[in-house]
């Protein structure tokens, strides 16, 4: 079973993602901040990260830079309320950029295709 890490400071969103992606057959864990996410990534293995951008303290883009330092091949989907960064998300070395929406179809599709296309190298 594939394991996802949802990084979002918004508890409701995290909870929504956890339940929805569990239904899809994934193991889902949540982190409420960048440092927490980094710590979890260090301790256990994840197949994909869903990453919010605007978070207090360390933001998503900074977190992403940190992740990329050690886990270069880990697919990261940026999931932000802003679509401002969408135009050049590849700059941050993310695999995909999905703007937050109450309709999770696009996010699910993206996650599914990334995991099918890219079996985890580790």
């Amino acid at each position: 079973m594939k394991t996802l890490l949802v990084v979002d400071d918004d508890g409701s969103c995290r909870k929504l993602y956890e339940s929805e992606f569990s239904d899809e057959g994934y193991v889902v864990e949540g982190a409420s901040s960048g440092p927490e996410a980094l710590k979890m990534l260090e301790e256990s293995r994840f197949d994909l990260v869903i990453l919010d951008v605007k978070m207090p303290g360390m933001n998503g883009l900074e977190t992403l830079c940190e992740i990329m330092k050690t886990k270069r091949n880990l697919p990261v989907v940026i999931n932000s309320a802003y679509d401002t960064f969408k135009s050049n998300f590849t700059t941050w070395n993310a695999e995909a950029y999905v703007v937050k929406s109450s309709n999770l179809d696009e996010l699910k599709r993206t996650v599914r295709s990334l995991l099918e296309e890219k079996p985890c190298p580790r």
Binding site: D10, S12, C13, K15, L16, S19, E20, K54, P56, G57, M58, N59, L61, E62, C65, M68, K69, R72, A81, Y82, D83, T84, F85, S87, N88, T90, T91, W92, N93, V99, K100, S101, S102, N103, L104
Partner: protein, 765 residues
């Protein structure tokens, strides 16, 4: 632009005008901002241009690093972002922001430039027009040749009018076939010039006063130059002199350098008049050159501009008409009262600038002066070959007036086609008229209105009323001449009024553009705001809608609560849509172009609105051309355009209605046509469809079409919209093929740059 102020990290206020190095008092040799007068603190002035452009290469990073180490810069940046930045993120954030700012500022700068240029040319036109207008007014107020010549001389040399240093006038003597000098004006020496200028300057003499002084024979020192002029007599043959050439070729000659001039300048003219750059324009009337006007700036040595040459040429046209009129009056030996009538007419016509008023006045005066029962003034659009009645005047029965309009058009067309008057003294004996037409009028006449060689219309008059027992009740040659004179003045008046209206129209456009510019700035501010708000709202919306979906899915199909949940889901979606539109407008990022199949974009857009199509029970008629060239476009943005237009179409579509989607090649463009059945959009709304925040009243933010328009313009294309009988509204997105190809290189560069930007990350491993 903005006069922003910001507090530095140590609380010191610095203004946007201050340079960062002044504030910091740093003297780091490696900072390119050090000592540079054109580099301001980016964050305070919000002017990113000198520092980081989208074309920033690694060599500019020196600059970037200096700034990112600046306390003022950092604290302000973090405050405006609302978060602290780690060292690693600063440079990239700054680069990113700078790029966004640059694009926005570049667009604004361009808009400002365009406006400024338009403004300047408009001002020039208005000034020139008012000068000409003033001169015409004075000139057409007199019938004496000598006075007219003096007015022309004063007009050319007065500082309040054309402002040349010297001028000379030469007239054609038709009998002797020579061009001979008639009058000259201007100081004879530098000292005299200086004296006159200082006198005029001290007294601030108006143009009218200069004319009065010169026509009343006092003040201006004309004698020396007039004597010189009188000595000039040239045979009307090519190659004799530049003045003769100008008359024969009926065009201006602008001689910038007399020594290298390849045409003929006679020795007489060289000895007596020309010493430096000068200009000769022909004096024209009714297509005939009747003389020449020479002017120069021998004392001030100010170069003569093309605009001045044009203005002088226009003045010479007016002068020609005035001279011609004077000659005709002379030959007709009109009574004093008639001359004064005509003078009044001229003044009246020339002092009115509203086209409608002018036309009315001309129609009335034509009938009254000629003694006709009625008249119609026709306007002619040469390009469209259209003749329309501009004004009517009549004392006859209304039925006659009405019928005469048809007969009148026939006459007007003859006069316009022939460019000559048409006189029918007795309609009943003219075989060109039908029996019905013969019954309409007993005697008719038509003259064309010609201004500067263009036919602008015609005047037709009918049924002469004999003014005495000896007067005929048919129109005669004398009447034709008389109407001809009126027509000349009328033509100028029509031309002037049209020009005036064009100027007014330009002014209106200018005001509109300025308003738009202001709105654009407001929108940009709004964009920043909405980006912040969007985040705060979108997060809770995601949970509300997301959980509602979850709960809805878990309920049985017949559970009544499902309806309520559906409402929550629908409303959430609507709010999200509004947020998206707001954000789209806030973002004016450049399109990223790639070669794409437009049909694929169309198909995907249709796919994305399929739910709304189902909801409307709409029928889609699809007709996609299979041999279209690939286009260089931003797939996502064009998809956005098509979706926005389709959504708009669906909004106005009656349930069960049809939507037509078609692609085709048309010349150098590919057209995507989207039409929907439904009510037609009224014309006045049609113009405002693409204005931001303009809505039909149905739900929506009024941004969808504005965004679409913006995107298509960025692709070098346009959106056309119309209504036709079958379809309520037809939108056509026109995307150019050829210019598209030219931009391919730019897109490649952009891609290359993007790859560059990834490097710093990859090197870290």
């Amino acid at each position: 632009m903005s006069e922003g102020k910001a507090a530095g990290s140590d609380g010191v206020e610095i203004s946007s005008a201050q340079k960062c190095w002044e504030y910091r008092a740093c003297s780091k040799g490696d900072c390119p901002a050090c000592g540079a007068s054109d580099v301001r603190c980016w964050i305070v002035s919000r002017d990113f241009r000198p520092g980081v452009s989208p074309d920033v290469s690694s060599s500019d990073d020196k600059f970037l690093h200096s700034c990112t180490r600046c306390g003022v810069f950092l604290s302000h940046l973090e405050r405006s972002l609302g978060r602290r930045l780690s060292d690693g993120a600063v440079a990239d954030t700054v680069r990113f922001l700078a790029q966004e700012m640059f694009i926005y500022q570049e667009a604004l700068q361009k808009a400002y430039e365009g406006l400024r240029v338009e403004h300047v040319s408009l001002e020039t036109r208005i000034r020139e027009f008012s000068i000409l207008f003033k001169i015409c007014n004075v000139m057409h107020g007199t019938m004496e040749l000598e006075k007219i010549l003096k007015i022309i001389m004063a007009s050319v040399t007065s500082g309040n009018a054309l402002g040349f240093n010297r001028a000379m006038i030469l007239l054609v003597d038709e009998e002797k076939r020579v061009l001979s000098g008639r009058m000259g004006t201007g100081p004879s020496s530098m000292e005299e010039a200086a004296r006159i200028w200082s006198e005029l300057e001290a007294g601030n003499v108006s143009f009218e006063a200069v004319v009065r002084m010169s026509t009343e024979g006092q003040g201006t020192p004309d004698e020396a130059l007039t004597r010189t002029a009188a000595s000039l007599v040239f045979p009307l043959k090519p190659g004799v002199d530049v003045t003769v050439d100008s008359v024969l070729e009926k065009r201006p000659f602008h001689v910038r350098d007399i020594d290298s001039y390849s045409g003929a300048i006679s020795k007489k003219l060289r000895d007596s008049f020309v010493r430096c750059e000068f200009v000769v324009v022909p004096i024209m009337a009714k297509g005939r050159a009747m003389g020449a006007l020479v002017a120069d700036n021998v004392f001030s040595r100010r170069p003569i501009t093309e605009e001045e040459v044009d203005l002088l040429f226009s003045l010479a046209h007016q002068a020609g008409l005035a001279i011609e009129n004077a000659a005709v009056y002379e030959s007709m030996k009109l009574g004093l009262s008639e001359v004064s009538t005509l003078q009044e007419v001229g003044k009246g016509i020339l002092s009115t600038t509203s086209l409608a008023d002018v036309l009315e006045l001309i129609a009335r005066i034509s009938a009254q002066v000629i003694g006709a029962k009625g008249s119609v003034l026709w306007l002619y659009e040469e390009g469209e070959d259209r003749v329309t009645p501009g004004a009517r005047f009549g004392t006859g029965e209304s039925i006659i007036q009405k019928s005469f309009t048809e007969l009148g058009e026939k006459l007007a067309r003859w006069a316009i086609a022939e460019k000559a008057p048409v006189l029918v003294p007795d309609c009943s004996s003219d075989p060109r008229f039908s029996e019905t037409e013969k019954g309409l009028a007993s005697s008719v006449m038509a003259v064309p209105l010609a201004a500067l060689g263009n036919i602008v219309g015609a005047i037709t008059v009918y049924d002469k009323v004999a003014r005495s027992d000896f007067d005929s009740n048919m129109f005669e040659r004398e009447d034709e001449k008389f109407l001809g004179i009126l027509a000349d003045q009328a033509a100028i008046a029509v031309q002037n009024a049209r020009l005036f209206e064009a100027v007014r129209e330009t002014e209106r456009r200018l005001r509109e553009t300025q308003a738009l510019l202001l709105r654009t700035e407001k929108l940009a501010a709004l964009g920043e705001m909405s980006a912040k708000v969007a985040h705060e709202i979108r997060n809770p919306l995601t949970s509300i809608g997301g959980f509602a979906r979850r709960v809805s899915k878990s309920l049985k199909a017949n559970d009544p609560n499902r309806d309520y949940l559906d409402i929550i889901i629908k409303e959430t979606e609507r709010l999200e849509r509004i947020l998206n539109e707001q954000l789209q407008f806030a973002q004016l990022s450049r399109p990223r172009l790639q070669m794409e199949e437009i049909n694929a974009v169309v198909e995907e857009s249709l796919q994305l609105v399929s739910e709304e199509v189902l909801a409307r029970k709409a029928k889609i008629l699809k007709k996609l051309s299979m041999d279209l060239p690939k286009l260089l476009l931003d797939y996502d943005k064009i998809k956005q355009v098509l979706i926005n237009i389709l959504q708009n179409a669906l909004k106005f579509l009656p349930v069960g209605g049809r939507i037509r989607v078609e692609t085709k090649k048309a010349g150098d463009s590919v057209h995507v046509i989207m039409a929907n059945e439904g009510e037609r959009i009224p014309g006045e709304l049609m113009d405002r469809l693409f204005v931001p925040f303009f809505t039909s009243g149905k739900d929506g933010t009024g941004l969808g079409l504005a965004v679409a328009y913006q995107i298509v313009r960025e692709h070098g294309g346009e959106i056309r919209v119309k209504s036709d009988r079958e379809w309520g509204t037809v939108f056509c997105v026109c995307l150019p093929v050829s210019t598209n190809q030219d931009r391919r290189r730019t897109a490649g560069d952009r891609r290359a740059r993007r790859t560059d930007r990834r490097k710093p990350f990859e090197e870290g491993f």
